[in-house]
């Protein structure tokens, strides 16, 4: 499955660059699909998540405290945007310092164990695999951080 990192200009700003993943033959990124899947039943949560991401991009940066860390393999940066109290809509991301985040998909977290929720498991493992490949690209210098650290540059097409 071919996919490409796509910068979300609507959410990116001087504090952080926000990316998502565009899969071949799809017109929407994983984050766009997440919005479509949930906006009908959970509009207020979606509005809150999108506005928080906008604030991260333009005002605060992707500070560690805004995320639930260690949602993937050790050191791979896979995390989830902090859940709203009493809500269960979960969005997975990969965080690279406070300046770059890659948004994946997510869904409703009905049960505590991730392994028991196939939708969330699928979204989570996709980001784990992407993170692994990005780490390889960074090692090989096929992907580099810009001088100000606020962005990526290089080859953004992956085969997951």
């Amino acid at each position: 499955m071919k996919c490409e990192l796509t910068k979300i200009e609507e959410l990116s700003g001087k504090r952080a660059s926000v990316y998502s993943v565009l899969i071949e033959d799809y017109e929407q990124t994983l984050f766009d699909i997440f919005i479509e899947e949930n906006k009908r039943l959970h509009l207020s949560e979606i509005q809150d998540i999108v506005q928080r991401l906008k604030t991260i991009g333009t005002k605060t940066g992707a500070r560690e405290q805004f995320f639930k860390l260690h949602e993937g393999n050790p050191g791979d940066g896979v995390c989830a945007l902090f859940d709203l109290p009493e809500k269960n809509l979960r969005l997975y991301c990969i965080r690279y310092s406070t300046q770059i985040i890659i948004l994946g998909g997510g869904g409703i977290k009905f049960v505590r164990a991730l392994q028991n929720n196939s939708k969330l498991t699928k979204e989570n493992y996709l980001l784990r695999e992407l993170s692994k490949q990005i780490t390889e690209r960074i090692k090989e210098k096929d992907i580099r951080f810009t001088i100000d650290g606020n962005d990526f540059e290089g080859d953004f097409v992956f085969d997951l």
Partner: protein, 135 residues
């Protein structure tokens, strides 16, 4: 793949958030950032803040820092008091941007009469320039 036209409803969602609600969300996150900055200045862990404000549940501090918490004035006042910062003033701070330049300087002397030749290779000079980022 790069030329593909992306179909997104992010703009539509952002437009549907009222300015008042957007400001609320932003302020919660800015307050959380300021609390975190103040903790770092004091080299405090979450536990230190928890004890300072007389709380017993560490998850409450995690929630305060998550940028999703709706603080009461009393809690904010307590936090201002123990952290020594003004959390009620959320004016954006102009943070200095530090530019680092890394130069390699190589010098070869052309005076040969006294076989005087110096090569200063790989001397690295570091300059730091501080500027202020303007909006």
């Amino acid at each position: 793949m790069t030329n593909k036209k992306r179909k997104s409803s992010i703009g539509e969602i952002l437009a549907s958030v009222s300015p008042k609600e957007a400001k609320r969300i932003e302020n919660r996150m800015l307050i959380a950032s300021k609390i975190d900055e103040a903790m770092k200045t004091k080299s405090w862990k979450k536990k230190d803040l928890m004890h300072a404000v007389g709380k017993t549940n560490p998850s409450e501090i995690t929630r305060w820092l998550s940028g999703t918490h709706n603080f009461t004035i009393d809690t904010l006042t307590d936090l201002c008091f123990v952290l020594g910062v003004d959390l009620l003033n959320l004016e954006e701070r102009q943070e200095p941007v530090i530019h680092r330049y890394n130069f390699t300087v190589s010098v070869t002397s052309k005076i040969k009469s006294n076989c005087y030749e110096n090569t200063m290779a790989n001397s690295q000079l570091y300059f730091e320039k501080t500027a202020t980022l303007s909006n």
